[in-house]
Amino acid sequence: MTNQTRLPQHLRKIAHVFVDESMQDSPIAQRVKARLEGTTQADIPWTVVAPGSDRLEFEQGDDQALYLKEYKGKFLRFCPGTRAYHCCGYRIIHIGENCPMACSYCILQAYFQDRVLKIWANQNDLFSELGDAFGADRNTRYRVGTGEFTDSLALEHLTGYSHDLVGFLNDHENVVLELKSKVVDLTWMDAAKRTDRVLPAWSLNAPFINEHEEFDVSTLRERLEAARTCAEAGFRVCLHFDPIIHYPGWREGYAEIIDMIFDYVKPENIAYMSLGSFRCMPQLTPIIADNFPDTTYIYNEFVPGLDGKARLLRPLRLEQFSFMVDRLRAHGMDRQLYFCMESTEVWNEVFGYAPKDFGGLGKRLMEQAFGD
């Protein structure tokens, strides 16, 4: 007992592992089993899921389950952006669903209302689909990421998924992979042959928001220290202010974190940086109110946007964006900055130009990702 180690904080609620019968001997299943060995969670139950089982029944209070699943759907997808606003054109590599951390604003609460963390254990199928897509034309460039339906690195300690993916993509020079996270796990770095084809990325927020609305995540300093480590190793990083929250004291809060960034990395270390105001499907608001009763930013002046999502009233967004962009520009940021899902009006008001002026946001970010 004395030699038992503890899993990272954000994995300590995992109390059960489910594995599809067909995935029992998969490398991912073997690895999860091995990495649980010797930890305080070594004895959590494993349940084999028979073929054809509809859905898992797992309801144990605050506990979470890890489900190593044979996924039958598409692994490479388009980001579900809408036409009403400018989308970054990012492609998603779908490696799993749900997240062990708890951020009050997270849309995954509405998508997945259970406490089951799913990982697609049939990696060979995933690599096969990706190989077909990326190998079809080596001159077609892809900017891809795994952090849409899950955090890219949250389960890395157990699964090593990103390590495998980075290794696989070493043979595809036409692909840049962004690993977007709120935790620190840099074990994937060993697998990267080229530092210019992986973009480690962290979400950032005002310290108050980090302390009051994000739980079981790494601190802002830990994230920025990790970004510095990556920069020192030759990688460029991405940083994302999304969601930007309008709360009392937001000016001081966002000024503090913006200034803090440049204590750790230089503008040239940053491939790109997004700014996105908090927005959500209307059905998420009551879920946040139930799950996080102390959260108050959801009661700000939100109105239905052009895509039907609740958005902060435009003048309030403009006020925050202008403040942050001015401060970031003062630190030397410029071309790397972009808005996630914003209108031409907002682009023009804050940046003085809109994506059509530089050939579209997708094109700009592709250039930034590949370091053109």
Binding site: P248, P286, A289, P293, T296, Y299, N300, E301, V303, P304, G305, L306, R311, L313, R314, P315, L316, L318, E319, S322, S343, E345, E349, V350
Partner: protein, 320 residues
């Protein structure tokens, strides 16, 4: 519990037609009176023998009418019905009645002390036309935890069922502050829920009590004005909405002022279509003949030269 297959006759005065299981016993409907006058009693009521005589299990309204008319009552005998069974028989006998939320809630209040929450959800709610996992089921559960004074408002139809969620989220002091709003008016679902939600959310956002928000919005002053219920509710809603959405309300006011200036003396109307998410406006005009069309075109030309458009273009932007 058993139901006899025989019909007995007894004077109405020998029957006890009170008890908590008669949870929808209100004044008999005129149509039932007319029917009994014309045809007599067409269906027997349900009674149970007790040491105090016959207890009415279902059929309170018929007993009441027949008692008035001094006529005997046809009844079917129920044996050994416990409180749950009495309630279920009452529901079964009233299965054809159209239900509203107050009636459903009255039934749930009767059954709640007699069974656990699971049974209440799975057995009683469907009999009341409510799906056990529906939003309404959640609302009824929230109302069952509410204080008696608030339950009385729901039973009286003064507050909508849908208000249960926001009332449940409020602190007791905040609920006490809003209660006078429901003392004299029957609120529609949308007005009632909007009013409570805006008050609650404005309080959360400003980190102050609902009473403070009501003071800021001038709610108490409006209540003192002696307006008709319709006017009072409309004015209260407008005042509280302005407090909940100050920036949006200010933009809307500026827009309305600019629109009035631009369209003065014309049939044209200006509308901001998307909560200022984009600049600009929608223009509409109603015309029904060629003369009105010609006038609208001429008005449009005149309107195009009004300088107020510059104000309108900028609304919602940084330099607004």
């Amino acid at each position: 519990m058993q139901l006899s297959s025989e019909i007995l006759t007894a004077p109405a005065d020998t029957m006890r037609d009170t008890g908590p299981h008669l949870f929808w016993s209100d004044k008999p409907q005129e149509s039932l009176k007319n029917s009994i006058n014309e045809f007599g009693q067409t269906t027997p009521i349900l009674v149970q023998e007790t040491t105090d005589g016959l207890e009415v299990i279902a059929g309170h309204a018929r007993v009441s009418i027949l008692r008035e008319q001094g006529k005997p009552v046809l009844a079917r005998l129920v044996e050994e019905a416990d409180d749950v069974e009495k309630g279920l028989l009452y529901l079964a006998d009233n299965a054809q009645r159209p239900l509203d939320d107050a009636m459903r809630f009255a039934a749930l209040r009767y059954f709640r002390p007699l069974m656990d929450e699971k049974q209440l959800r799975s057995d009683i709610l469907p009999r009341l036309g409510v799906k056990p996992k529906s939003k309404d089921a959640k609302l009824f559960a929230a109302w069952l935890d509410m204080a008696d004074n608030w339950q009385a408002h729901l039973l009286a139809g003064r507050v909508p069922l849908a208000a249960g969620i926001v009332l449940g989220r409020m602190e007791e002091a905040d609920r006490n502050a809003v209660e006078p709003l429901f003392a004299n008016f029957a609120w529609s679902r949308s007005n009632g829920v909007n009013m409570l939600t805006w008050l609650f959310e404005a309080g959360k956002m400003a980190n102050c009590s609902t009473a403070d928000i009501m003071e800021r919005a001038g709610v108490n002053e409006i209540l003192r004005q002696g307006l008709s219920p319709k006017d009072c509710i409309a004015r209260l809603n407008a005042a509280v909405k302005d407090t909940r959405y100050p920036e949006l309300s200010a933009l809307q006011e500026h827009f309305a002022k600019a629109a009035r200036e631009i369209t003065a003396g014309t049939r044209w109307r200006l509308n901001q279509p998307n909560n200022f998410e984009t600049g600009g406006a929608e223009m509409t005009v109603q015309i029904k003949d060629a003369d009105q069309l010609a006038k609208a075109v001429k008005d449009l030309e005149t309107m195009a030269g009004v300088s107020t458009w510059e104000t309108l273009w900028k609304l919602g932007g940084k330099d607004d």
